[in-house]
Symmetry: D2
Subunit: 136 residues, 4 copies
């Protein structure tokens, strides 16, 4: 299953090349991921309050076509891997004409405030089940 | 007394106008303020650990000449007001030829983690004295 | 007349204080201003293609209450001054409960690619009239 | 050969996790790459004036240890691939104690203002030779 997140590029996200700076795609990916998770009952704000921090293990973006100010893109995000300690999301960013602007993936782990790993299955079985459900 | 902070504009700080986006001047101001404070024994990282949060009450920037990628500006920062509960910094950003690129000022207060006000004089007299010293 | 722009705070817009960094309010103001202008037939993307650049002359924000990740704010933006060579917008950012989170204003001028001033009335009378209409 | 770029993390680059947001590592990589290129006679500002635009084809970062506000990291950057139409840089970000905070790589191509590919060897042989020299 996947989730579609719509995003319009802001002026301040462009650079002197006249296009959205490539670092912002990583931010758009995050927006889409957090929206997707929230839609499935995984509210990162709530999770942090419960002591679950979800840092990035890695992040990758591949750029096909520049995105320009004012343009609205669709980001299709899906959870592609989850094993209880790590999860990977995959992203496809499309322009309004369906053309792929960028793709990417990000890996995440679950840690406490002290950045020590958490076993989600053991400590937060409800979230564990929800993430499993997102794989289907 | 004042402090000079040098900053070179980054590519990703430009926008499609080909100049550093105006929101970044506010960030450069912050960099200069925190460097100045640190140079006077007020390390914000350490202060936060001690429970002192220093949010902005306001921020103002006036733009005279655009700053471009690769350009190095000098930011002269001084503490212009401090009364124990609030402090105001004033900034002058100059290009290498001495021309003024921007000016500004920011007001700050002192709060706890809960965003309740702190009396610096009463709770942290050492910091209070250091700030008074910066006014001279 | 004014325009309401809705904005949800992103995770990457927060800082270690746990709140939206104050420089981002300046960016939210820009988003609201450009959306308002576009809604009134002033599309900055189109205007730049016609050779009209609209840099900031100044920017001010006053912060009342922190904005947090996931929170949606309303930004009410209005054109408060316009004399053909400069224009000023005023902003009120409100939380969902109506509480004011921040206010601000920004002044802008109209220049060519070379950053030389343009008389909008003379060179682009249609845009001039639209801006006058926004004052009412 | 490689180049070392020093960078101190700014307050506004942190997020509510209390660490530098992962999108900023991509920006730090860019800073180090452009500084390295400039040190070898490849000034991107000058190159853009000559009509050479160098967008990202992809970008990858792997995060080992969080970077915190005020911390200074060394980014070691090297050109690892160059074939006249594409180039890849590899990055290792180290904390002051030598520990690796992050690694990454970015691929770039050379295009005109119109985003059409340029053969650097044919059109800009001097830059071509300089890049070949950076591989050694």
């Amino acid at each position: 299953m996947s989730y579609i997140y719509k995003r319009t590029a802001n002026y301040y996200e462009t650079d002197m090349m006249g296009i959205v700076h490539h670092s912002n795609h990583i931010r758009y990916f995050e927006e889409s991921r957090l929206a997707y998770m929230k839609s499935r009952g995984l509210d990162v704000l709530q999770m942090e309050k419960e002591g679950i921090i979800i840092p990035n293990v890695d992040a990758y973006a591949k750029y096909f076509v520049p995105v320009r100010f004012g343009e609205t893109v669709d980001i299709e995000v899906s959870l592609t891997t989850f094993n209880g300690t790590k999860m990977e999301y995959t992203y496809t960013m499309r322009r309004e004409n369906g053309e792929i602007a960028a793709t990417g993936h990000t890996m995440h782990c679950f840690v406490k405030d002290t950045f020590r790993p958490i076993s989600l299955k053991k400590s937060f079985p409800e979230y564990y089940e929800k993430l499993l459900g997102m794989l289907e």
